[in-house]
Every structure is written in structure tokens, then in C-alpha cells.
Amino acid sequence: MAKITMREAISQALTEEMDRDPAVFIIGEEVGVWGGTYAVTKGFYDKYGPERIKDTPIAENAIIGAAIGAAMVGQRPIAELMTINFAFSAMDYVVNQAPKLHYMFGGQFMVPLVIRAVGGGGRQLGATHSQTPDAIFAHFPGLKVVSPGTPEDAKGLLKSAIRSNDPILFIEHATMYQIRGDVPDEEYLIPIGKSKVQREGKDVTIVTYCKGLELSMKAADELSNAGIEVEIVDLRTLRPLDMEPVLESFKKTNRAVVVEEGWKSYGVGSEIVSRIYEEAFDYVDAPILRVTQKEVPLPYNRTLEQAALPQVPDIVAAVKEVLK
């Protein structure tokens, strides 16, 4: 085991897969000479050259569209969206083309495409650059949506995503590149579509993913000091959604809080809560609560932005509430 950062973990997954399979290449804005906006592909341009590290014009439709085309003829492109907010500039390709092509043509085409996109708020980038719109993408059958919360998961899931024959949106969080975690020394893969218990506990189940995991782990420490043991289930993949560990945990605790960075209305939590009510209604001892971003476009001002984002004390309060 080695302790590495999220950035290093993602970087390693990319290089390992590029070294393994010559069909893998990277396409996106500032991925090459610049070294990646978040420095994930730093040094790649010198190592792999411009054919495999393709700096593009600012043209999100062309980036995702061309990646889809290249994937259809057997390459394995990794398209990078500088931020997930720019997925909206390529929305047709992300949700209306990539996820449809295999099905609509009776399985003739495969789209082995990974779209890496950086999301999340907290960096004072203003309303158009700070979103956590993961739920929107998870709405579409045909697209897989992965969003890891630890370096270990990021590396293993990204490697699986690159080897997958389906289009996968891989969502990273802009404020998590520096977090550290243990990663196995030997090669490993983590299957897409498997949730994981990241912390065991008996009192309340927290269901979360990505940034929500980081916050929930902190809340769990605090709650533990107060004698409350939460169990944290990390979804890791939003679609296909693996409810098994969630339900198993819930049947034990009978109480749950869902933590996500996106908005509450029509969000990930909406899905999780309905599924618990549908599949484990007899086990419900208290209303299930959601900790989310406030229903506002994110402001630039730091104090207001932080007030709009879900915070550790919000999680602590929600857990105590469901225990009442």
C-alpha cells in the first residue's frame, strides 16, 4: 500500500491503461502542453506525444463527438471536459448520442468511451462554473456515471472504465485532487456499478458519494465522539445503481441520511430515498433526510458559497435528527 493523492491515483490509472493498450488516447482542452488544467496529465505530452495526447480547440461538441466516432471504430478515447459545466455545451453528444448508439442500432456499434469531467463547487467560480449536476447525467439509460470519493476507488474504477465497452462519464471533484489515501501497490480493478461500505456502524446509514464521502467521514468521527456510530455506504457509481449494500445497511440501522453536493430537487437523494421506501419500507423507523446544496445557483462570494454548500455540521445535525 502506498498513500497517494487523488490526482496521482487518476494519473496512474491513465498511464497504466495507456501503457497497456495502444488504442487508448486522451483528447481535450489543455490536456497536453499545459499539462491538464488540474495537472492530472502533467508530463503526458512529453511521454506520449501529440498523437496520444490531443490538445483540441475549444469545441466541446467536437471533443465528445469525435471521441464517440473514434470509439465506434475501435479506439478507446478518454475525452476530458475541463469542467462538467462544459458538458452542457456538448449535451447532445453526452446524453443524446453516446448513450443511444449501441441500443438504437441493435447492438451493432460499441462506444468504449470515457468522459472525464471535473465538477463541484467551493472554489468561488460563480454560478456557471461550480455545479454538481451528476443526477442529470445519471437520468439517462445507456450512460454509466461513476464518481469516486477515494484515491483507491478512483484508480480502480477509472481503469475499469477505460476497459469497458460502454460510454462512461467519470466525474471528479475540483476540491479533492489533494486528498490522500492508501492504494494497493499491485495492479487492481474495481468493478463499475458496485457500492461499498466505507465505514461500519450500527446507528444510522449515510448514503453518499464523491465529495459527500469526504464530508460524511468527518461527520462520522464527530458523531462517534458523541457515541453515535454511522455506517457509510459510498455509491461510487450512480448508474447503474447498486442498492444492495444500501438496503443491507438500512435493514440493520432502520435510519438513513443521504448526503450529496448537488441540489435536493430531483437529485441523487430523491432516487435513493424512493428506492429505500420501495424496497425496505417495513424497516423504516424515521423519515429519511437529505443533506444537499441549497437550491440556489452558486454565488461568487466565499461566505455565501460556503453557506450554500453542504457542510459537516449539516450532516451531524441530520443524523441526530433521524435518531430522535
Binding site: V33, D55, T128, E295, N301
Partner: protein
């Protein structure tokens, strides 16, 4: 141009420079956050351009907008306050560096999605066409923005509908770290306008008087003919793309070379040579700017943070 106006342009350019230099310091000190893109080096473009408009002509630009905001008549106080995220900023601290605007000054924003404001500019002009007035919309954007679909859709619409838009491409050689050469199929960006049979020209952007003259002519043309015009302006940003740019894509010699044609230096020399101003008069302007910027920083620092309930205000108009 009258002497007073020339001095005013000098004042505006120095004001932009000093507001941004102080802004950069405040950013380093952690008082400004988010993305901040400096206009230093490009001051002559928006200064000359906006001086050539009538007040009823609209201006819209991208996120590199501090200079444009000041040229449109927003005060250094408001600009600085917005940078610091204060309630007294023109966007009440909700927008920050990239999102300055003023309806009163006919400045329709600072927009942060590359190319995204071009169709909106066509829309401003569509609104004016519908209202049967002859306002011109001046839409500024970078070289990089001409590679995204929005640009092409907007230009085509403007030409087809004969919209009164002056498209101004600030060709500062790079879109982030990608040079025009590496990102654009045509080396002269104005050729893209040719593709839409749009009248166009390419000018140097370091001499404010030249920008002013070209803009005057272009705005006149657009107004009289109800026909869009495309102006490519060569310029250069002396600083990184935004704060914290590793600048691996260009050599310092290249920056140095461009700095020799500093638009403020060029204009100062021009004013002295043409005897439009004495060195003393120009120094006085600089001293006045210094004081104004000091006051703006004080004003911004002393201004209140937006109130917490502001978080929920203005999500909808009603």
C-alpha cells in the same frame, strides 16, 4: 480626436492597468478568489472600441471583463468591490471577476462560457431590430472562442438576419495555452467571417487611436447598413491566462517582445510627440489614477459582505 478625449483615453488605460495590478496583489493576498483573468496588455482594444460607441450602443464580452467594465463607465469602486465579493459590487458579490455588468452603462456582461455570449449578442441585436432602433451591439471575444459552434451559429444568424452587430475578435495569440496556430484551421481569424460573406478587417490592437478609428468606421457601417461587421484585433496578454497559469506554452522572450509595444507606452509616446499633452499632464493623470485606485481598494475592503438572505434573492425575477 479632441485633446480632452485623448487624455481621457489615456486615463482609462492607466486606470485599467492599475486596478488590475492592485487586483493581482489582492488575489495573492487571498482577498479575491475564483478565476481572475487580467486584461493587462490589451487595454487599447476595449478603450478604443468603447470610446467609439454611442451610449445607446450595447457592449458584451467574455470573462476578461474588468477593462471593458471600466471603459463602459463603471467605477473603480464597483469593480474592486465585485472582485472582493462585496455587496457594493455591481453584481452584489454574486458574480465576481468574470461577471461584471451594468444595464445603466449598456454593458451586458462578462460571460464565462467561452463563445456562449455570441448568440446572446445576436439576440441583443435581434431585440433592437425588433424595436426598430439602430443601436449597435459590440460583441468582444477571444481567438479561442472562434473555434466553438456558438461563434459560427451567431455569425451566420447575424449575417442572414442583417443584425447590427460589430463582432470584435481580440486575437491575443492564445486561448489558454493553445496558440491560434494549433487550434484554428485558418491563420487569419477574419477569414471565418469571409465564410459568412461578412465585411471584415484586421487591425493592430496596441495603438488605441488606430483601434478607435477602425471601430468608428465599423460601427458607422453597421448602423447605416444594418449589416454585421467583423473586426479582428491583434493584441497580447502580458500576464498568464488567469491567476496561477504555469505558462509552459510560451517563452518569456516572446512576452518581453510584446511588452515593447505596451499600449500605454505607445499612447504616451504618441501624445508627447504630437504635443497633445505634456509629460507633467500625463504624470498628473497617473497620480490621479493612483489615488482613485487607492480609494477603490479602501472602499471595497470597508464594504459589507452580502447579507446571508441575499443567497436566496434574485433566483427568479418574481
Amino acid at each position: 480626436m479632441k485633446k480632452e478625449q485623448q487624455l481621457d483615453l489615456y486615463y482609462q488605460m492607466v486606470l485599467i492597468r492599475r486596478v488590475e495590478e492592485r487586483g493581482a496583489e489582492l488575489y495573492q493576498a487571498g482577498k479575491i478568489g475564483g478565476f481572475m483573468h487580467l486584461y493587462i496588455g490589451q487595454e487599447a482594444v476595449s478603450t478604443g472600441l468603447i470610446a467609439a460607441r454611442e451610449p445607446r450602443d450595447r457592449v458584451i464580452t467574455a470573462y476578461r471583463d474588468h477593462g471593458v467594465a471600466l471603459n463602459c463607465g463603471l467605477s473603480a469602486n464597483e469593480v474592486m468591490a465585485e472582485l472582493l465579493g462585496k455587496a457594493t459590487g455591481m453584481s452584489k458579490g454574486k458574480g465576481g471577476s468574470m461577471h461584471m455588468a451594468s444595464v445603466e452603462k449598456n454593458f451586458w456582461g462578462g460571460h464565462a462560457i467561452v463563445g456562449g455570449h455570441l448568440p446572446i449578442a445576436a439576440g441583443l441585436a435581434t431585440g433592437d431590430q425588433y424595436a426598430k432602433n439602430d443601436n449597435v451591439t459590440i460583441c468582444m471575444f477571444g481567438d479561442g472562442a472562434t473555434n466553438i459552434g456558438y461563434f459560427h451559429e451567431a455569425l451566420n444568424l447575424a449575417k442572414t438576419w442583417k443584425l447590427r452587430v460589430l463582432w470584435v475578435c481580440e486575437n491575443n495569440v492564445y486561448g489558454m495555452g493553445t496558440s491560434v496556430e494549433r487550434a484554428s484551421a485558418v491563420k487569419e481569424i477574419r477569414q471565418k467571417a469571409e465564410g459568412y460573406e461578412m465585411k471584415n478587417s484586421r487591425i493592430g490592437g496596441m495603438d488605441v487611436t488606430k483601434v478607435y478609428e477602425a471601430a468608428k468606421e465599423a460601427i458607422d457601417y453597421v448602423r447605416k447598413n444594418s449589416d454585421p461587421y467583423f473586426l479582428e484585433v491583434d493584441t497580447y496578454r502580458f500576464r498568464g491566462h488567469s491567476m496561477g497559469d504555469p505558462e509552459r506554452y510560451r517563452k518569456q522572450e516572446e512576452v518581453k517582445k510584446w511588452e515593447e509595444s505596451d499600449p500605454i507606452g505607445i499612447f504616451r509616446k504618441h501624445l508627447l510627440e504630437k504635443k497633445a499633452a505634456t509629460a507633467k499632464a500625463l504624470d498628473e493623470i497617473e497620480a490621479r489614477v493612483e489615488e482613485e485606485v487607492n480609494k477603490a481598494v479602501e472602499f471595497a475592503e470597508a464594504s459589507p459582505e452580502p447579507a446571508m438572505e441575499d443567497l436566496f434573492n434574485e433566483i427568479y425575477a418574481e
